[in-house]
């Protein structure tokens, strides 16, 4: 626990405890609403749906800790999906097509990072621009068509099970551990917190601020690309409008997990709990027969409430 001071850790711990309690209460409520909710089968099945958001939320946590944001993740997911699908249709062997997709995802993230660091622009503006740009490229390149004649083994990424456990859940767990180690145990993680708390002082201390940011935005590009491959495999279709609005789920999860939107604080444990709460909510609402039209509304309000409570408690602690 080298990255956190004793006091802050105590505080975080309590915040995460609150989230855990919320999650448990939520699960109990959901199991009352729907008898099949609290079955192992359903829980594991649910996990198939939050892995994509979860992977992106891991990267988003680090970016939000540095005081940045990436609104382009949903569009980037679509871009990667199209890159995989259409390079495959164009004759690239599928493994290479997938590799190409990963490269596109990282390149898109790197593009964001370069724009932000070289021109000193606010990430909000840049990624708002690339939100439109990536989306448009995905539409344009795919000519608004879909690809779904993948070979059978492509389903492995999003539909395979190891025993009762969905394959992507294992990928997610590995990613969680890796990102958690990076954030809490490494020099890089310390730099991330330093930049988020005081970017100028970090620079004066010899923290390679630009390189850290480039790594972060490229890194989230990689996570988005992984999410995209899983998503494309799960729905077995590559199309330009995949992932529309996913940035909301991702940011909501991170903020719900206790990361301050102003930067400087946030944890992987919190984010994972945030992801689980949102997934439970979505799944539960579906099982309980709540119309899907409600879900956007619920998510939007949830995001607002989460940020509000976060900042409210943070101010009281100070």
């Amino acid at each position: 626990m080298s990255a956190l001071t004793a006091t802050v850790r105590r505080l975080r711990f309590s915040r995460e405890m609150v989230l855990l309690v919320v999650l448990i209460v939520l699960m109990i409520v959901m199991s009352q609403l729907s008898p099949i909710f609290f079955t192992l089968g359903n829980l594991l099945n649910t996990s198939r749906f939050f892995v994509e958001v979860g992977l992106m939320a891991l990267g988003m946590t680090l970016i939000i800790i540095t005081g940045g944001i990436d609104l382009s993740v949903g569009s980037n997911l679509a871009l990667v999906s199209v890159a995989v699908g259409f390079s495959f249709v164009a004759g690239l062997p599928l493994p290479l097509a997938i590799l190409f997709g990963l490269v596109v995802g990282v390149a898109a993230g790197l593009f964001n990072g370069l724009f932000i660091t070289l021109l000193h622009l606010h990430p909000l503006v840049v990624t708002l621009g690339t939100l439109a740009l990536f989306q448009g490229l995905a539409y344009g390149v795919s000519e608004a068509e879909a690809v779904s004649d993948f070979p059978g083994w492509f389903a492995y990424f999003g539909q395979a099970y190891l025993g009762p456990i969905p394959g992507q859940l294992i990928i997610f767990i590995v990613a969680v551990v890796v990102v958690w180690l990076i954030l809490s145990r490494t020099r890089f993680g310390r730099y991330v917190y330093a930049i988020g708390n005081n970017e100028e002082a970090a620079r004066f201390s010899g923290v390679p601020v630009r390189r850290v940011k480039l790594a972060l935005y490229s890194g989230i590009g990689l996570l988005v690309a992984m999410a995209s491959v899983i998503y494309t495999s799960r729905v077995y279709t590559a199309r330009g409008d995949s992932g529309v609005g996913l940035e909301l789920d991702v940011i909501s999860a991170v903020v719900l997990g206790g990361a301050s939107i102003y930067g400087g604080s946030g944890t992987i444990a919190g984010t994972v709990l945030g992801v689980l709460i949102i997934a439970t909510l979505r799944n539960g609402l579906i099982l309980a027969g709540v119309p899907s039209t409600w879900q956007l509304f619920v998510l939007g309000v949830l995001l607002l409430v989460a940020v509000f409570l976060n900042e409210f408690f943070r101010r009281r602690e100070e």
């Binding site: 001071t5 020099r187 310390r190 005081n198 100028e200 970090a202």
Partner: protein, 522 residues
């Protein structure tokens, strides 16, 4: 200039018994656990210049922020015209005629001079209800004219020189019917000629019955214009005396609390090889053609006014803002430094003046701050080693950072202890060349003398030290050589023996004809 030449002084003499403009009674203000001012009395009479002096961190600015309605006092009261008042914002203070010209000017860089004067004020309107631009510009020109300057009132403020920005800030403060004006270090970035212009403005004000609180570090200025002097030390009121009853030596003793020679520690020694040298270093709008060198075991003082380009020079050597042209040589070899990382690899470390914004990550623990610049040495395969804690403890202990655990966030520490953490952080890097930028700013006397002892130790360990300081005593007592900068250029170099207050101040301020270009202001 002598006191009786000053029309404000005569005015003050005749109105000395009139009711004060305002009075602070037994005021105490704490921030968290730190007491900034305690049980302080202060009053201002109409038409006088009342100087408020004290070392950095003595509580001057805090006291005046209470007067200006930015902070409510924890104890004690503020009286205006004999009545106790409670301000909830600067607007309330301005409502009763108390204006403030803060040290960091609160102007709107993107807006025109005219617009800056009228923000938040009543504006003239035309018959049709629109704003009367012509009248506003006329009024702006008239106000600036009454201060003796002629500016294009349609230019944006960011294009003005530091001196003209200062004048806009004064004009802005005087838009209301001010009876008291607080000036916090108004001459910090002005040339001698501009200072005299400011003094003329002040005497115009006082002869009109306005009281002026004048905060400054420059003792000669204080004796030139002040009628009374109040000394604060460590948040306590020490004395309030007519200026004519004090001399500079006595004033310094009151401010510092002990004779100067006990504060400083310096054992001059034979300097070694040149450790760092710059030749013709230039950065557009900040400094030009700077040559200087620092030898091993030597302390070179860098004196000058705020805004003379010293901080910019040091930050350039440290790679924050790389120079446009010129050479930097470390141990005789030319190096290209484009980032603080490379500077550190070359053994250079810069201790910034802005402790809270540039020196520390406030929410981080003492340990994490001390090790932030040496994580590359304290990690393997990117993972931070457990040895980190021992290293941090060693450096924290060396500087006797008291009353705190190594895992406490530095935001809870006092200014002096925070500064020690900044210094510990730089020592942890074990640099051979240290650039110290105002290392004792805002630090109490005890911590100051410890920092001086430490600087002396470092020099005796053969480190090359560049000491940037605006406190002349500090520069003169600590340095083996003194360089003086003015308007981005080195204008004087003195050996320890020949450096005197007068010589250094002359080199720092010698009336410059033509004003500085605007770009260096930030």
């Amino acid at each position: 200039m002598n006191l009786s030449d000053d029309p404000g002084a005569e005015q003050a003499a005749t109105t000395a018994d009139a009711p004060g403009v305002f009075r602070l009674r037994n005021v105490t203000k704490r921030f968290g656990g730190v007491t900034a001012v305690e049980d302080v009395d202060f009053d201002l009479r109409p038409g006088e210049v009342h100087a408020l002096v004290g070392e950095n961190g003595a509580g001057k600015s805090t006291l005046m922020k209470i007067v200006h309605g930015l902070y409510p006092p924890d104890e004690g009261a503020l009286e205006v015209g004999g009545e106790v008042v409670e301000f909830s914002s600067p607007r309330d203070a301005e409502g009763v005629g108390i204006a403030m010209i803060p040290q960091e000017l609160d102007l709107f860089p993107e807006l025109s001079v005219t617009e800056n004067l009228f923000v938040g004020r009543q504006r003239p309107r035309t018959r049709w209800g629109g704003l009367d631009g012509r009248a506003m510009r006329g009024e702006a020109r008239r106000r600036l004219g009454s201060l003796g300057v002629d500016l294009d009132v349609t230019t944006t403020v960011k294009q003005l020189s530091a001196a003209n920005q200062q004048i806009v800030a004064i004009a802005r403060a005087l838009v209301g019917e001010a009876t008291a004006v607080v000036m916090d270090e108004p001459t910090a970035s002005l040339t001698e000629r501009e200072v005299q212009q400011l003094f003329r403005i002040i005497s115009d004000l006082t002869s009109g019955g306005v009281g002026v609180v004048y905060i400054s570090h420059r003792l000669e200025e204080i004796f030139q214009i002040a009628d009374r002097i109040t000394v604060l030390r460590d948040g306590h009121h020490i004395t309030t005396t007519p200026a004519s009853e004090l001399d500079a030596e006595e004033l310094v003793r009151l401010m510092v609390g002990r004779p100067l020679n006990e504060l400083f520690t310096r054992h001059p020694q034979e300097a070694g090889e040149v450790a760092v040298e710059v030749r013709g270093l230039t950065r557009e709008g900040e400094f030009a053609d700077v040559d200087l060198n620092v030898r091993r075991g030597e302390i070179v003082g860098l004196a000058g006014l705020v805004g003379a380009g010293r901080t910019e020079l040091a930050q350039s050597i440290f790679g924050i803002h790389p120079p446009d042209s010129g050479q930097i040589l470390v141990d005789g070899e030319e190096v290209r430094i484009r980032s603080p990382q490379t500077a550190m690899e070359k053994g250079i470390f810069y201790v910034p003046e802005e402790r809270r914004s540039q020196g520390l990550i406030l929410p981080f623990s003492i340990k994490n701050n001390i090790t932030l610049s040496i994580l590359d040495r304290l990690s393997r395969f990117g993972f931070v080693l457990r040895a980190e804690r021992r290293t941090a403890e060693r450096f924290a202990k060396g500087l006797s950072i008291r009353g705190a655990k190594i895992s406490d966030p530095v935001s809870r520490l006092s200014g002096g202890n925070q500064q020690k953490v900044v210094v510990a952080k730089s020592l942890a890097r074990e640099p051979s060349i240290l650039l110290l930028d105002e290392p004792t700013r805002g630090v109490d006397v005890g911590a100051k003398s410890e920092i001086y002892r430490l600087i002396d130790d470092l020099a005796r360990e053969d480190k090359a030290i560049l000491l940037i300081s605006s406190e002349l005593e500090e520069v003169l007592s600590m340095s083996d050589r003194v360089l003086v900068m003015r308007e981005g250029r080195v204008t004087g170099e003195f050996d320890r023996g020949e450096a005197t207050q007068e010589r250094v101040m002359t080199a720092a301020t010698a009336a410059a004809e033509g004003s500085r270009e605007a770009s260096g202001d930030e």
